[in-house]
Symmetry: D2
Subunit: 146 residues, 4 copies
Amino acid sequence: MTEGASGDGREPDHIERLRVRFSDTDAGGIAHHSNFFRWLEEARIGFLREIGLSYREIEKSGVHFPVTACTAEFLRTIRSEDKIEIDLWVARSNRVRMNVSYRVRLGSAVAAVATTGHAFVSDAGEPIRLMRDSALWQALTEFNPG
Amino acid sequence: MTEGASGDGREPDHIERLRVRFSDTDAGGIAHHSNFFRWLEEARIGFLREIGLSYREIEKSGVHFPVTACTAEFLRTIRSEDKIEIDLWVARSNRVRMNVSYRVRLGSAVAAVATTGHAFVSDAGEPIRLMRDSALWQALTEFNPG
Amino acid sequence: MTEGASGDGREPDHIERLRVRFSDTDAGGIAHHSNFFRWLEEARIGFLREIGLSYREIEKSGVHFPVTACTAEFLRTIRSEDKIEIDLWVARSNRVRMNVSYRVRLGSAVAAVATTGHAFVSDAGEPIRLMRDSALWQALTEFNPG
Amino acid sequence: MTEGASGDGREPDHIERLRVRFSDTDAGGIAHHSNFFRWLEEARIGFLREIGLSYREIEKSGVHFPVTACTAEFLRTIRSEDKIEIDLWVARSNRVRMNVSYRVRLGSAVAAVATTGHAFVSDAGEPIRLMRDSALWQALTEFNPG
């Protein structure tokens, strides 16, 4: 399930740094597993920002890419105030779907590996195909030519 | 600050019943204080539903009432799976602003008292005045003629 | 990835009914994908409650079962106030690990299928093996003898 | 209600910088009001960190300071990716209770003013009095000698 989560040895396409919030934790004293998916989202937005794209602008232009599938393996617990790093790789994508893989690190220890799949949809939620000259598609092909 | 939170002895205009989720708790083992405001929101939506109004429909019609102010006193801790009841009272309101007060109960024990203030705004976020014949304004005057 | 998510045609071991909260939604207007995992958690807790076990009591007894892996496919969008039903099946489990699969429905439409994997751990987070006569293990074998 | 929220013209005792997460927003497209309280909490933890105290260590030592009351006025909407600054002032406190006031800024614009009240309690949730020589009490008196 997490094949490719390591990016096949490639350098990450983006590294997002986050400080875990107290409100990310639950009564078990550790970060709630659902919040990992919120952090991955910040990593995606941070990746776009790094390459000069704005998530907000893309959404305003009528292109959305909701999460249609996801997987995660949680290997270590994360606590409030922990400073984590999220390695992000653009994985196999086309003009209809995008896949992203992640590695969440606490220092050198891997705390989680994960993947998300996304479909490109319109404001009305209908499937769309990215324009070949769209900035988003240009970026995706640059980062994952395969 | 919580004057009127008891509704001045009036019967509640609505009682909302909720089961606290595990994800409502934090590392302290108890419900996070921020989540009380999420429950109060459910109580407002439930109140509208009870009187035949749909929050979603009101929003779609271009009328929004974001929280512009709030107060709360937390008197007892609430835990995962607790079944709480939220007494809601429509408080002093006009066609520009709405005030609501609440009492959160765990059985007969009062766990919190709170108030929220709301402004009516358009899709663009501009202040608006409710139409005199709008269903929302009719409901507010019925419940708080003062 | 979602093999078995349908419970192989078996009747669900538990059905959890939930009303989606406004605060479960994000700026896209639909329920945030991370919140599905919070609802699945409520389904697990509800399942335990139905068979006479208390999640809180199990935790107090020093047995925890954090999510160690999860998968989900999101098929339909869910909105605030939607009343959803979560079908839950206990899947292949042993005294060291537990697997659960889910189907989230909005009426008869399937909105998501998902799985979670759990490890049994002590208060200190060390792997443990459930006692053969523990109520939790009795329940798991009853529901998934395979 | 927000008297003192400006710290009476004093320089803030701490300034916390935060980037708003996409998951902090709701279907209205703006940050959910409940999340302001999560950000204020990060500001408190950041303040402690700045003066050499660890929230986690204080909690481990058996001293907790749950929010017992709060107020907020929301003046401007905040959106995903906004970089906000939270000015924090320690307000009137004693060895039994602590008060904190805040100003949330988006650049030079004030987006919210808020206050939180806290009681010092033991692991068992019983009211306690801070030891005169405790690091926390030393810090509180240094920052608000009045």
